[in-house]
Each structure stands twice: as structure tokens, then as C-alpha cells.
């Protein structure tokens, strides 16, 4: 996805990570964007009524939490690591810890293990209180483009 890598280069030059989300239609639609105002890369999903999964509680749809944790991991890999390709998700496991109330959700990701081709990332999402996460995730990403990968098997 060269548009995203171009956007990454522009974002780095300007020091404005939020520009990364502009290249991803789904991130715009979901209002998910990275921010680095606090010196740490965080990803925010702005609350809007279309995120609701349970109107009775009310609570944010679990699928959207999984989606934003995945985006948080991708933004982290793009911004904080020396990636030359767009990370390709292989799998993700999301643990739902608490129901998410109808307010913004913030997530932070960290690399648990960086391999040559595969990266293991942990991400955590919370709302007002960081010590009370609403969901966590572990995900694997391929970070080497197919072109320079060794012949498979």
C-alpha cells in the first residue's frame, strides 16, 4: 500500500501521526486515528452512535473494539518500527474484560517480539481510566513484503 507509506513519510516529516488514518477509508469511517500528543503513540476511536452494540446497557460493539485494537497495532508498527512494508495481519485474539461505555476508546500497543518476518504485538484499550482496560489483544503481523521473502518452505 504505497499511499499509506507515502502518508507515513509525510506524517513523519510533519511530526503529525494523525495523517496516517487519512489513507485508510475504514479508519475514517470508524473515526479511529492515532495521536502522539503525549509523547506516547495512542490510538483513539471517537464515540459516535454507530459504534453501539447493545442499546440497553448501552455498550460499544465488541467487534469495533477488536477493530480499533488491530488499527492501534498497525499504527504502532508503522510509526514506531522501521517497517518498509505495510504490516499484514495474520491473526488476532481479543479478550473482552468490561463492557465499553458510550464514550471514546483509547488504545496503546507494544511489540512483544520482533522477528525478521513476523511481529507479535500486544494492545490494550481503555476509556476514562487506564488501569481499567475494556479489552486487550494479541496479534501477529507479517512485516516482510512477499517480493523479498525467501521461497516458501
Amino acid at each position: 500500500m504505497s499511499a499509506l507509506l507515502e502518508r507515513l513519510a509525510e506524517a513523519r516529516k510533519e511530526g503529525n501521526v494523525a495523517r496516517l488514518a487519512e489513507a485508510i477509508p475504514y479508519a475514517r469511517w470508524m473515526q479511529i486515528a492515532p495521536e502522539n500528543g503525549t509523547g506516547e503513540l495512542l490510538t483513539r476511536m471517537r464515540f459516535h452512535p454507530e459504534l453501539i452494540g447493545n442499546t440497553f446497557l448501552p455498550a460499544i460493539h465488541g467487534g469495533t473494539l477488536g477493530a480499533m485494537l488491530e488499527m492501534a497495532a498497525i499504527f504502532h508498527l508503522l510509526w514506531e518500527t522501521e517497517t518498509e512494508t505495510v504490516p499484514k495481519i495474520v491473526n488476532i485474539t481479543v479478550d473482552y474484560l468490561r463492557s465499553a461505555r458510550p464514550v471514546d476508546v483509547i488504545a496503546c500497543a507494544k511489540v512483544t517480539k520482533q522477528g525478521r518476518r513476523m511481529v507479535n504485538v500486544f494492545a490494550e484499550a481503555w476509556q476514562e481510566d487506564r488501569s481499567r482496560p475494556v479489552a486487550t489483544a494479541n496479534a501477529h503481523f507479517l512485516v516482510k513484503s512477499d517480493a523479498d521473502a525467501p521461497p516458501s518452505l
Binding site: 485508510i24 477509508p25 469511517w29 460499544i60 465488541g62 491473526n91 485474539t93 473482552y96
Partner: protein
């Protein structure tokens, strides 16, 4: 209750009444005991890579979560609230741009507290999946029952 009436009821409970499912445009296409199926139309807003038009992982995650949840609902003897405990998704190949995605979920075991489900997403051939999912659900959680009161026993 006949098949179409059951599908219409689940469509109401698992898409129309859930704002995010409605926003995605999830369509219930199958509902029987222990089994749920949904369809998601491709559209530009759901794309992760604008150069290829391939869907982002997010819409598939939300769809598979919803579909696994619906398969749990088809197993409940009485309506009862439940919530996703965990969800694993393997993205086995990219979704093809422009094509609708079908999800098929099965609730293969239900206990008093936990329900176990698995699901596949594909473009019409279940043997050639785009994504595989495994989800567990906690039963008897807070809130309102997430199952329509069915007229018959199934």
C-alpha cells in the same frame, strides 16, 4: 415458525436493533438451532487498502463477533443476556474487492456459564475461507436478553 419468519426475527434482533450491525449493513441469511449465517456487502467505507480495495480486518471482526453471538442465541432455551468473552480471528487470505462476504457460525457447545462457537467467512465457497474465528461467550451477563422470543421450541 417457518424459516423466513425466523430469519426476519433474527435480522431484527441481530442487525436492525444493533446500531453497529445496522451501520455495517449486516444481513441475516440463515438461522437454525446452533447455526447462524450473515452477509456483508463490500463498500468503499469498509476498505483497509484503497489501492487494492481489500476490506479492512475490522468489518470482518465485527461481523464474525455478531454471527458467533447469534449462533449462541439460537441455542438458548429462554432469552438470556450474554457477552463476548474472547474472539480469535485468523485472516487466512485477503477478501476479494467488490464481493460480498458470507459468515457462517456454529455454537457447538453450551454450558450454564459459557458458550463455545466457531465461524468461517468466505465468498460463497465455505471450503475456501477468508477468515476463521473462534469465540467464547459468557452467559447470564447484565442487560436485556439478546434473543428473540421464538414461537416454537427450536
Amino acid at each position: 415458525m417457518d424459516k423466513d419468519a425466523r430469519i426476519a426475527l433474527f435480522q431484527q434482533w441481530f442487525s436492525d436493533n444493533i446500531p453497529h450491525s445496522k451501520a455495517l449493513g449486516l444481513k441475516v441469511i440463515g438461522a437454525s438451532r446452533g447455526f447462524a449465517s450473515m452477509q456483508l456487502e463490500w463498500r468503499e467505507e469498509l476498505v483497509g487498502n484503497p489501492e487494492t480495495g481489500v476490506l479492512a480486518g475490522g468489518p470482518l471482526t465485527a461481523m464474525l463477533d455478531g454471527c458467533c453471538g447469534m449462533s449462541v442465541a439460537t441455542m438458548l432455551k429462554a432469552p438470556e443476556p450474554f457477552a463476548t468473552l474472547d474472539l480469535r480471528i485468523d485472516y487466512v487470505r485477503p477478501a476479494e474487492p467488490g464481493k460480498p462476504v458470507i459468515a457462517e457460525a456454529e455454537c457447538y457447545r453450551i454450558t450454564r456459564s459459557v458458550a463455545f462457537t466457531r465461524a468461517f467467512a468466505h465468498h460463497g465457497d465455505a471450503k475456501d475461507p477468508i477468515a476463521a474465528a473462534a469465540g467464547t461467550f459468557m452467559l447470564g451477563t447484565k442487560g436485556k436478553p439478546t434473543r428473540p422470543p421464538l414461537g416454537d421450541k427450536s
